[in-house]
Structures are given as structure tokens and as C-alpha cells.
Amino acid sequence: MTIALRMSVSIVAFGLAVAGLYWFFARDLTGTVLLGVFGLGFLCVFAYLVASRKKTRLDGDEQRLPSELAGERIGVFSIESPWPVLLALASASFLIGVVLHPMLGAFAFVALLAVLWGLARESR
């Protein structure tokens, strides 16, 4: 956790420092905004890490051996699901349809909603 925090702080600092340096040398708004967003984006990650710091316990930082931790539940991993491939098909059809064939886009939009509903049901 501490390493993740340190990584985020370093990236935020680096992004903002380079943005400042770039503005000082180039006075170019586009590049400064892009670099600033790079730094500020990670500010959100940093804020999240600080907020969740107390309640986060990571197995990797455990020094006990796996055998001593037997029986602990680490999460649920789905083995298969039809929804990812269907969601990809619906998303691709929607994007292509919107630009090239509005009718296909409309059908794909309905399909997209149906797939999202199915995915949400499965996730419950």
C-alpha cells in the first residue's frame, strides 16, 4: 500500500513539475494542459488511496505462509460468462451503426441495453 501511495505521489509530482517546466519554456497551452492532466489524473488515484488506506489489507504484504492462511476467501472468480462477448458485439455494432448505418445503430443500442441488463443480473 505504501509503495502504491509513493508511486502515485511521484507521478503526480512529476506530471505537475514537467507541466510547469514546459509552460515556463514553451508558453504553449495545449501541451501544458495535457501534461497537467497527466499529473492531476493521478491526484485522483492518490486521493482514493489515502481515503481507503485504513480499511485495505493486502495479502501480498502478509508475511505468514499460504498454509497458515488456508481457508481464507480471497475473492470470487467467474470461470465463464456469455456477456463479455455479447457486450463487445453490441458495442461494436452500435459504434459502426451510429456512423455508417443509423438503423443498425438503433438496433445495436437496444441490444446494448439488453446485454447490460443481463450483465447486471449476472453480477448480482
Partner: protein, 529 residues
């Protein structure tokens, strides 16, 4: 068949990514052969200029967006959970969705070839105004834009998994500083993807709006600016170079350690340099725009020179690992050595073009083509083959034939250098890129012919590799957990191929080398590190 369609298992998704990206590599390679055939002699007219433009556009697009980066994603999908001792990726369904979106995106890009106006032809960068609706009117360009947007979104979703899984799902004992360098490199890659790919997605949608909704983002007459396109594209485009190369740095690190029979030299330096590269790569995008006259050349030149430092650190660490090691020259190691030699040429020519006075001369010439093929082809592609030879036994449970592998390496190494070394001279002689034919100027015909012969050798080498895959995958052999002997990371502590959730028994993780500690307890250090 159905079980592959609905699978959310990270190993299957990793294999799908790798097989798909290799299929796109075959397509892109075929297009490269068409290009080299057309350019083999002066004033040839085997294919017309429009077909030539489509060929180099699809070749570049497929190699960059659909082969090198996705192969790295596939390998990472397969390895990251095993490397950190997890049963799967943090978000398995998101992972599956990313893959299918990538596949459909790639097919959408290529589907443009079936439209009336043909496929996209504005180059893999699709600069405005070349990609504007007035110049590229056909729906092939639209399909290219939509397809790439899909692969871009897919990359962002994949990066979330690459970032969350090693941070949250590490097995007990696998502290961050015990993770394999490959995993660290993928974390740095994921950060770059999360920062850079949205820029690509945005610029592609802006281009679509320009083409179909009357927006004028990149149209000068409407108050827009084509240079804005270049800024947004290269803010993605340069980190993308490192998105393609950093996973391969990870591959090289793992292979060098195992075949030098030595622990990796300078673990901390290798990790920190990955983050140095990732950070600096975000601030060098406009070195692709020196000649526009619209950017601060000294700033971007200095940043581009600086990125050579962390890259050099990695290089020295690999040499340090090999130094006085008991090196064994299996095919994977040969490809890694080939990678180092080729990438060195790519890196040094990169320092040339990071200098604006030289870049003004080399811009849009064959020198540039040679430079980036040495980094991405001679670099990433060689590392991809190293990865395939190294991890094929783990993934498939069979070793690839070493004799055929060595012949494959020789053909690839000779072919690659025969193709791209003459291009350095062609570039300085003034041959511009993206021309479908050229006049019979002194030296141009001979150097181009050499280059085309080299492409033929690469094709032969690749065909031999495919034959090796077919023959070796049919072999009947039972491989041990660690077929190379002396593997360090956790994949060598489980069966070949691994079980559904990766481990029947997870070994104690007391150091950076849990598999080595398991197989050679007599050499395991007493105190944990």
C-alpha cells in the same frame, strides 16, 4: 469452441490475445512483402499509388495497434496472475470484454478493405487534413477510426486489470519488492496506457465529428488547427512506443536471468528505470513535430535525450546479469541477444533524430523508417519471439524444436538487418517514405533491392516458425514444472500447462525467486529478502 467464446479465465484470454495478435502480424507481414516487392526496383508499377497507400496504412496500423502492443497484453494476461500467485485477474469479465472489443476493433479496421473506396489510406497516424472527409471520402477511413477507437478503449480496460491485479491480488509473501520485473514493467505500461490512450480515443472521436457532424476541430477554414491533431495524437503516440517496448523489456529481463543462470542484476534499478521511462515518455511527444515549427524544440529534445538514461540503465543491468554468467544459448536467449543488438541501433539512431538539426534532415525519410523498425521490429518483435520460445512449454506443455528455432533466429536476424540497415543510407541519400515508386537515382535501386531480399528472408523465417509451432505442438512429451531448469518466478513452480486456478500448491514465497527456492532449497537464502 463455445467454451473459448465465453471463457473469462485469464490464461485462455491471454492465449486468445496472443493468437489474434500473431494472426494480425501475419497479415501485416504479407502487406510488408507487397510494399517491398513494389519498391524492389525503380519505377515499378505492380500496384498503383492508392493501393500502396492502403498497404502501408494497414501494415503500420496492424503492427502497432494489433500486433506488438496486444501481444504484450496477451502475455501479461497469461503471466501476471501466475507471477503474483493469484488465481485470476481482478476483473475477469472486464478482461474478456477487453479482448473481444480488441478483436472486433481489429476486424473493423481491416473490413475497410471490403468497401467501395478501399481501406484507410492516410497512414497509421491519419494526420488531418489527410484523413478529412474531403481527402479520404470513403467509409474505409471511418471504419479505421471506429476500429481503432475500440482497440483504444479495450486497452484502457485491460490496463485497469494490469494495475489492480498485482497491487491487490498478490499471494501471501509476495510483497511488491518481490514481484518479478515483468510485472513491474506491466504496471508502468498500464499507467502509460491509462494516461495516453484516452488522448487517442478523444482525437479519433474528434476526427469523426469533423468528418460527419460538421465540426471543424482540425479544419483551418473553420477556425480549427491540424497541429492540434498532431499534439493529441502524439501525446498518445509516443507513450505507445513504450507501451510496446516496456513489456518486452520485462520479457528480456526474465529470459536473461534464467539463461545466464544468475539472479537478475540490479532489480531495483530495473524497476525504477521502468517508471523513469514511463514518466519521461509522457513529456516527449512533440519530438515527432520538430519540423512543424509550432513546438518548443529544445525542451522536447532535452526530454528525449533524458529518456536514454533509464533505457541505458536497463541495458547495463542486462549486461550485468550476463556478465560471468553460465550463459546457455537456447533459441529464446538468441532472440534476446538479437533484441539487444537491434535495439541498440534503434536507440542510437533515436538519439540522432532527437536532435532537431538532424531531425530536420531525416524527417519523413527512410532513415526514420529504419530507426523505428529497429526499435519496434528488431526490438519488440525479437523479444516476442524470445517470449514465445521461452513460455511455449509452460503454455502448451511442449517445447518448440531448438534446431528449427536456431534456423529461425538466423533467418530473422540476417533478414531484419538486410532489410533495414540499407534504409539508413537511403534516408540520408534523401529517399522519402510513403512513395510508391522512385526514380533510378544512383544507389537507390541496389539498396532497395537488398532491402526487399531481406524482407524475403524474414518471411521465410516466419514460415519456419509457423512450421515449428505445428510440428512441436504435436509432440508427445511430459514436461516438468520447470523445463529450463533454474526458473525463478512462480510459473515455474506449477504444472505445464498450469491448472485452472494456476496452482495446486502455492510454494512459500520468501524471496524474489520462489520457484528457484522450491526446486533448489540447498541454495535458498536462510533469511528472507
Amino acid at each position: 469452441m463455445i467454451e473459448w467464446l465465453v471463457s473469462t479465465n485469464h490464461k485462455r484470454i491471454g492465449i486468445l490475445y496472443m493468437v489474434t495478435s500473431l494472426s494480425f502480424f501475419a497479415l501485416a507481414g504479407f502487406l510488408a512483402d507487397v510494399i517491398r516487392l513494389q519498391l524492389s526496383r525503380p519505377q515499378l508499377n505492380l500496384i498503383g499509388p492508392h493501393s500502396f497507400n492502403q498497404a502501408f496504412t494497414l501494415h503500420g496500423t496492424a503492427m502497432i495497434f494489433l500486433f506488438i502492443a496486444p501481444f504484450g497484453f496477451g502475455l501479461a494476461n497469461y503471466l501476471i496472475p501466475i507471477h503474483v500467485g493469484a488465481p485470476d485477474m481482478a476483473f475477469p469479465r472486464l478482461n474478456a470484454f477487453s479482448y473481444w472489443l480488441f478483436l472486433l476493433g481489429g476486424l473493423t479496421v481491416f473490413s475497410g478493405a471490403l468497401t467501395a473506396g478501399g481501406a484507410a489510406s492516410a497512414g497509421w497516424t491519419a494526420y488531418a487534413p489527410l484523413s478529412d472527409v474531403q481527402v479520404a471520402a470513403g467509409s474505409g477511413q471511418d471504419l479505421w477510426i471506429i476500429g481503432l477507437a475500440m482497440t483504444s478503449i479495450s486497452g484502457i480496460l485491460t490496463a485497469i486489470n494490469f494495475l489492480v491485479t498485482p497491487i491487490v491480488y498478490r499471494a501471501p509473501g509476495m510483497s511488491m519488492w518481490r514481484m518479478p520485473v515483468f510485472v513491474w514493467d506491466m504496471i508502468a505500461t498500464a499507467i502509460m496506457v491509462l494516461m495516453a490512450f484516452p488522448s487517442l480515443t478523444v482525437v479519433l472521436f474528434m476526427l469523426l465529428l469533423d468528418r460527419h457532424a460538421g465540426a471543424k476541430f482540425f479544419v483551418i477554414q473553420g477556425g480549427g488547427d491540424p497541429i492540434l491533431y498532431q499534439h493529441l495524437f502524439w501525446f498518445f503516440g509516443h507513450p505507445e512506443v513504450y507501451v510496446m517496448i516496456l513489456p518486452m523489456f520485462g520479457v528480456v529481463t526474465e529470459v536473461v536471468g534464467v539463461f545466464s543462470r544468475k539472479p537478475v542484476f540490479g532489480y531495483t534499478g530495473l524497476v525504477l528505470s521502468a517508471f523513469g521511462i514511463a514518466g519521461l515518455s509522457m513529456g516527449v511527444w512533440a519530438h515527432h513535430m520538430f519540423t512543424t515549427g509550432a513546438v518548443d524544440d529544445p525542451f522536447f529534445s532535452a526530454m528525449s535525450f533524458a529518456i536514454a538514461v533509464p533505457t541505458g540503465i536497463k541495458f547495463f543491468n542486462w549486461i550485468g546479469t550476463m556478465w560471468r554468467g553460465a550463459i546457455s544459448y537456447e533459441t529464446a536467449m538468441l532472440f534476446v541477444i538479437g533484441f539487444m543488438l537491434n535495439f541498440l541501433i534503434g536507440g542510437i539512431t533515436g538519439i540522432y533524430v532527437a536532435s532537431p538539426p538532424i531531425d530536420f534532415h531525416a524527417e519523413d525519410s527512410y532513415f526514420l523508417i529504419s530507426h523505428f523498425h529497429y526499435t519496434l521490429g528488431g526490438g519488440s518483435m525479437f523479444a516476442i519471439f524470445a517470449a514465445l520460445y521461452f513460455w511455449f512449454p509452460k503454455i502448451w506443455g511442449r517445447k518448440l524444436d531448438e534446431r528449427m528455432g536456431r534456423a529461425h533466429f538466423v533467418l530473422m536476424f540476417l533478414g531484419f538487418n538486410l532489410t533495414f540497415f540499407p534504409m539508413l543510407f537511403l534516408g540520408f541519400m534523401g529517399m522519402p517514405r510513403r512513395i510508391y515508386t522512385y526514380p533510378a537515382l544512383p544507389g537507390w535501386g541496389e539498396l532497395n533491392l537488398l532491402s526487399s531480399c531481406g524482407a524475403l528472408l524474414i518471411t521465410l523465417g516466419t514460415a519456419l516458425f509457423v512450421w515449428n509451432l505445428i510440428v512441436s505442438s504435436r509432440k508427445r512429451e511430459a514436461l516438468p514444472d520447470d523445463p529450463w531448469g533454474g526458473g525463478y518466478t512462480l510459473e515455474w513452480a506449477t504444472s505445464s500447462p498450469p491448472p485452472e486456478f494456476n496452482f495446486d500448491f502455492l510454494p512459500p514465497i520468501r524471496s524474489k525467486r520462489p520457484a528457484f527456492d522450491l526446486h533448489y532449497p540447498q541454495y535458498a537464502k536462510d533469511s528472507p529478502e
